[in-house]
Symmetry: C2
Subunit: 211 residues, 2 copies
């Protein structure tokens, strides 16, 4: 083997190999995709490659965490926290900024957020301490918050995080709620998994009958 493919893989130039290795660190990208990406960038989109290098450096240099909601921000206080148009009585706790964006896209929420930047996941080395939850506890105790909506994922880790937070905030005097689970809007019962359907049954909503 070593005789027919000397050195690193396939005599790939060291610089190109380095780029492929760096692309492999992106989540969901394996060696094959990394090769394809490197070829695409170098042969068909060199301005795109330069733009990505530039964007990475600026993001590393200029982004910090918002003092209030912990999301990525260029300023000490993010635009959303600084807005007087948001309802400070509601605080929605999410795992990541991506989840926050998903909720914003619904245009159904006008309150504020707290971004955990992770979830309780001991296997990945994320203990409750690693999440710096004291900052959230302080935030909830600021006197303005009346309701905390736990919008962590309905995965095992997300559920564990919600459970931990509900215990942590039990004596805070604010109302704690969790996103509803159930049949998706537009969904057909035939295609809903049994676990979700069972949950939708258990958490069914009473309808008022007109008299």
């Amino acid at each position: 083997m070593a005789a027919s493919t000397p050195g690193r893989a396939d005599l790939t130039p060291r610089v190109l190999f380095g780029l492929q290795e760096a692309l492999c660190r992106l989540p969901g990208i394996g060696p094959k995709s990394a090769q394809r990406m490197a070829y695409h960038l170098l042969q068909h989109d060199r301005p795109g490659a330069a733009q990505l290098a530039f964007a990475l450096q600026h993001a590393l240099a200029d982004l910090r965490h918002c003092r209030r909601c912990n999301t990525f921000s260029e300023t000490d206080l993010c635009e959303r926290c600084a807005s007087p148009r948001r309802d400070a009585a509601q605080l929605c706790v999410v795992e990541t900024p991506v989840d926050m964006n998903m909720l914003e896209q619904t245009q159904a929420y006008r309150g504020l957020y707290y971004v955990l930047m992770g979830r309780v996941s001991p296997l990945d080395g994320m203990s409750p301490r690693a999440l710096a939850l004291e900052k959230l506890a302080e935030r909830v105790a600021d006197g303005q918050v009346k309701e905390v909506i736990l919008a962590t994922n309905y995965t095992n880790e997300g559920e564990a995080t919600a459970h931990y937070l509900s215990t942590l905030l039990a004596n805070s005097g604010v109302q704690i709620s969790r996103l509803a689970r159930g049949v998706p809007v537009g969904g057909e019962l035939e295609f809903v998994d049994p676990g979700t359907l069972a949950q939708a049954l258990r958490e069914r909503i009473g309808l008022h009958v007109k008299k």
Copy 2:
């Protein structure tokens, strides 16, 4: 709409939005994956982000095309072309450096390569002229090459490229061949598509019967 989500999407910081846009230029990456990648890099792998920026800049600055085989190389002549251990009588023509690596991994080929860095694809603006095929024609005419193996893909564009090249090189006096098509090694007829199976029938190989 504009009233409830002012400015760019979801009040994402400009620098973060720029990073997401740059990641979107990678092939196969949509806005959702780009968001997830940006979050991962900034929150969980900042060294990875720095490494990627560095690798991109170095690749852009240091990689050129090998004078002889046209693949990416840090030097004027790539390591493979410079090796005295390769058989200069065989020249394998591939579309991309990734395809070349796939062939190298087979360890079944000891000849040299010519990398087109693309394929004839008028819809994508890749005319035969854009591929700079004169360089290949010169290479074939160097007196050393005895056989040209056309190893472009068996897609429509790859087939068109092979057809174009076989016409271009028809009078060059070297043997022209194309990779075999057929049932994959370890494949079961039940799961092979009809087109491939028909081709395997048409191009069946005669077996010698012992007398």
